[in-house]
């Protein structure tokens, strides 16, 4: 009798589990999987938002428009009379053909992304959508630099807060403040501090330190744009990094350090031999979370740089709302999906983030 009763109990439990999971699954299907399928499908059409026209199947046209790239050599300009290469009269640099003459125009126009020189030959890197390619580049730079800085700063803060001192609890509470500030709000705060004249505190400080004349346009000049956005992101998310790493540090038993001290290991040695290997799991989790988060950065870019420079996500938003190009926006979404997916897989391989 007894085993049979157990089986029915097990079956009951199983049925209950499925019933309890059902609402969550239904919602996740509706809110994630169905739109995901829809996005993949729409990315192969020329659907326009809020248009009565029936969308048509366009195959990979959206993708080739977004990702079309080419590299072509720029022939040097030659003086027709003397047969010599022409040089810039001011700098003495050789002159080359204009990219617009060289880059293909059919089936789609290529525009210059950048130029570079290898072995004395001049090349132009062209793309059918240089804005998107640049958005990918910028997002990758943004991600790598800001996650790197956050990890270093976060680890430093975590180590400080982990040591025993008066006011440690208060310090841990204070750490949460930037994390709790709405991202848009922090972008606005920094936007004001980075104002292009001396009404902004950054320019005042820079001028006192002798950098610039007090009118650096941090959000307007292209060389300052990415560093500015990275700074805001680092300020906002370092606390999160520090908290996760602190949790990892607190799991390390104190005896290990005491034993190391008895053996005469230096502080640096202790850090390398004990701290670093033991917080690796926490570090891995924090890195994965932050990297995947930075790759989809939107708020800071959209608020601070608007249409002057894009992240992948803000370009997606711009195509969808600004241009109402739903098909193209969907293709951007798919590209972002695969880039983020690639990073996730690479992390799991590299760091061995095997769970359980």
């Amino acid at each position: 009798m007894k085993p049979r009763r157990n089986i029915t109990l097990m079956q009951q439990e199983k049925r209950l589990a499925y019933q309890l999971l059902l609402p969550t699954l239904v919602v996740l299907i509706l809110v994630a999987f169905y739109p995901l399928v829809l996005v993949f499908y729409t990315s192969f059409t020329d659907r326009t938002f809020a248009s009565p026209r029936e969308p048509e199947y366009v195959g990979g046209a959206n993708y080739s428009r977004l990702l079309g790239m080419t590299v072509m050599e720029l022939p040097p300009l030659v003086d027709e009379e003397t047969g010599e290469r022409m040089v810039d009269p001011d700098t003495g640099e050789p002159l080359y053909e204009r990219p617009i003459q060289v880059l293909p125009r059919e089936p789609r126009r290529y525009r210059q992304l950048t130029q570079f020189t290898i072995f004395g030959r001049r090349y132009v890197w062209g793309a059918t959508d240089p804005t998107f390619i640049r958005a990918i580049q910028d997002t990758l730079i943004f991600t790598v630099v800001s996650v790197f800085l956050e990890t270093i700063l976060g680890l430093g803060i975590a180590l400080v807060v982990n040591s025993n001192f008066k006011g440690r609890g208060l310090m841990r509470a204070v750490m949460l403040v930037p994390w709790a500030v709405i991202t848009v709000v922090s972008a606005r705060m920094w936007q004001w501090m980075l104002a292009p004249t001396r009404v902004g505190v950054a320019n005042v400080i820079f001028q006192r330190l002798g950098w610039g004349e007090g009118h650096i346009s941090f959000l307007g000049q292209s060389e300052w744009q990415l560093p500015s956005v990275i700074m805001v992101d680092v300020w906002k998310t370092t606390p999160f990094m520090a908290l996760i790493l602190l949790a990892g540090l607190q799991l390390i038993p104190n005896d290990l350090y005491e034993a190391a001290r008895v053996d005469g290991a230096s502080v640096l040695r202790q850090f390398r031999a004990i701290t670093l290997p033991l917080i690796k799991p926490a570090l891995a989790v924090a890195l994965v979370f932050r990297t995947l988060d930075a790759l989809r950065a939107f708020d800071v870019f959209q608020v601070m740089l608007a249409q002057s420079r894009y992240s992948m996500a803000s370009y997606n938003y711009y195509q969808l709302i600004g241009n109402r190009a739903m098909g193209l926006a969907s293709a951007i979404g798919v590209v972002i999906f695969f880039i983020i997916f690639g990073f996730a897989v690479a992390y799991i391989r590299l760091l061995g983030v095997e769970k359980d």
């Binding site: 439990e13 609402p23 399928v37 949460l176 991202t183 920094w190 908290l243 949790a247 995947l292 959209q302």
Partner: protein, 288 residues
């Protein structure tokens, strides 16, 4: 150098580091408060001043005008209301259905459990921007207005997070509680409702708070879905698109006042619940 002076120096250095960290974390916020207390003329002073000062006499003269302006700003007030509705509803729904799922995954045995766990975990990292256009199509297709649309779409991040964190809490509750309840003749569901749920109340509060902050923070969906329905704008959108009443410069004094107004309650809440929040954040990440 003697041992004691070395120790003393080390302590001084340590506190300098602590001070630098605190300064770094707090300075932008201090600057927002400072700017919010300045009048238009004071904001335009060059070089800028570290406290609100009178442009000619340089006396300390703060003003509350920006705060008055913000609180009589219909769009900002509406934004607060909209954000409150959206974040509360999204949190309540995720807790409501997420607690059941978390109970099933934390305490019940069934086939496919580990793949469910992996699915939920991967969902917590789902790139929301990918499905932006798809969600927008669905929302307009269903004829949803912006506010229900936001509540619906926020499930994509609040629900997996809630389920994931609550599962880890349920898993830690001792098995004996369930077994003794079953011996007393309670069904699994009764055990859940009468015994486990009250026990996890603190976890529910923490998770709810974190989900609420995430929803309160959300900008991408809110900006997209309210683009043709300005009355439904939430706080982040209202602050991002803060209108210049006089069409020349952005009203940074008022924006900073709005910044302070929306940040103070959240920061207070976070400081009150800080222990729990740290536990919740790290449960979602480290223990997983």
């Amino acid at each position: 150098m003697t041992r004691t002076t070395a120790k003393y120096l080390y302590r001084v250095l340590f506190w300098v580091v602590v001070a630098v960290i605190v300064f770094y974390l707090f300075f932008p916020f201090y600057w927002a408060v400072n700017s919010s207390l300045k009048s238009e003329a004071q904001l335009m002073m060059t070089p800028t001043t570290f406290v609100p000062r009178h442009p000619t006499t340089m006396e300390f003269t703060p003003t509350l005008r920006n705060y008055q302006a913000v609180f009589s700003h219909p769009q900002f007030i509406r934004g607060l209301r909209n954000s409150g509705i959206v974040a509360t509803a999204a949190t309540a729904i995720s807790l409501g259905i997420g607690a059941f799922a978390a109970f099933a995954m934390g305490k019940l045995r069934f086939a496919g459990k580990s793949s469910m766990l992996y699915l939920i975990l991967s969902m917590t990292m789902f790139p929301q921007v990918t499905i932006l256009s798809g969600l927008y199509a669905i929302i307009t297709g269903f004829g949803m207005t912006a506010i229900p649309g936001m509540i619906f779409s926020y499930m994509i991040f609040t629900l997996p997070f809630t389920v994931w964190v609550l599962t880890s809490f349920f898993r830690e509750l001792p098995k004996e509680i369930m077994q003794s309840a079953q011996v007393d003749g309670a069904t699994s569901l009764q055990t859940f409702r009468l015994i486990l749920l009250p026990l996890t109340a603190p976890a529910l509060v923490t998770t709810g708070l974190l989900a609420f902050i995430a929803a309160w923070n959300e900008y991408l969906f809110a900006l997209t879905f309210t683009s043709i329905e300005p009355a439904a704008r939430t706080v982040p959108v209202a602050i991002a698109l803060f209108p210049a009443l006089v069409a020349r410069q952005e009203p940074f004094g008022e924006i900073m006042a709005a910044v302070v107004v929306v940040t103070v309650p959240v920061v207070t809440l976070v400081l009150i619940f800080q222990r729990r929040i740290v536990a919740g954040l790290t449960a979602g990440a480290v223990k997983g």
